[in-house]
Amino acid sequence: MIEIDRVTKKFGRKTVLKDVTFTVEKGRITCLIGLNGAGKSTLLKAIMGLMPVSRGQIRIDGQPVSEHLYEKVAFVPDTLTMPPFMTVENCLRFMRDFYDNWNEERAAYLLSFFKLQPADRISSLSKGNAAKLNLLLGLALDTDYLLMDEPFSGIDMFSREQIASVFTSELIEDRGVLLTTHEIDEIEHLIDKAVLLDQGRVIREFWCEEIREKEGKSVMDVMREVYHP
């Protein structure tokens, strides 16, 4: 379990995360929902130890964040961070050399599943293919947790469907997934838990099936209740 415990983050006088508390369970898909600027990406970076927090604690399986974290948690940022001159093949080799928990077999499977060409240069990839490669690099790591920043943003519907199918497969089974999005509609029925973030605060945290069963509401309905733009 990833525990985010009263995390506060300030940039100068501006508070971007305020007493944020929630959990990410193994074997569950948790979705961090918020409008642009709500603090979603900041929070993912904080979990990854890429940014110190001002107050509060983040624990992974009970342990505070340390350098061993990268064997347990993979992070898929919102853009591909590999240099443009590299080929897809180069990227995979880089990952293999760099990470002990790189799973070659799964990487090969994903390469063909996403129909990516090993010889293609990063600079020549379409947005959709760049997003798929980005996801591949995270998914092929044998980690217990997977964080993804806006995996569905800015790509065509067929690529989105293909990426969504990852969430219904054994590729993420038994792992704890935390993803962010600002467009929940298409993936409503895929996620287990929703955490609504607004101006750096958690305003709701709930299990999606439970809210449907008890209140007959969709995640969108709850969002309409709590956000007042």
Binding site: S165, E213, S218
Partner: protein, 137 residues
């Protein structure tokens, strides 16, 4: 062998629990004969992939169906649709009652006398059936 198409994804609405929508989809399949008694059902993983749902939801749907006696599992064999006539009959009854209740709810607001309504249903049903026959031949 199970045909993949038998378990194709229904269009999910966002307000009813997804697992119950899956259960309902199975019930309709059984009532319409698309799924047959004793037929093997996909594994939890396969079902998740076919219906494009979370594996946890597939698991929960199967648990619910086991509880309702819709599917049965013996030992390590793959689960099957029940062959229990009582359960199968009850599914058909349930779906019919549900459809009629929905119909009554909407038609009652208009306030049609029951005899007129029954007459209209009969004539509508017959003309629709004839239309479908005409379209398919």
């Amino acid at each position: 062998m199970t045909e993949r198409d038998d378990f194709a994804a229904p269009a999910f609405n966002h307000r009813d629990p997804v697992y119950l929508q899956v259960v309902r989809h199975f019930k309709i399949g059984i009532a319409t004969g698309r799924l047959s008694a004793g037929q093997t059902v996909p594994s939890r993983r396969e079902l998740a992939a076919m219906m494009k749902i979370n594996p946890n939801t597939a698991q929960r749907a199967y648990r619910e169906m086991e509880d309702q006696g819709l599917i049965v599992t013996e030992g390590n064999a793959p689960s099957r649709i029940t062959t229990d006539e009582k359960v199968l009959g009850a599914i058909r009854e349930e779906l019919i009652t549900e459809a009629i209740d929905n119909f009554i709810d909407s038609v009652r607001q208009i306030g049609v006398p029951i005899n007129e309504l029954l007459e209209k249903i009969r004539s509508r049903y017959e003309s629709k059936t004839a239309e479908d026959k005409g379209a398919s031949s």
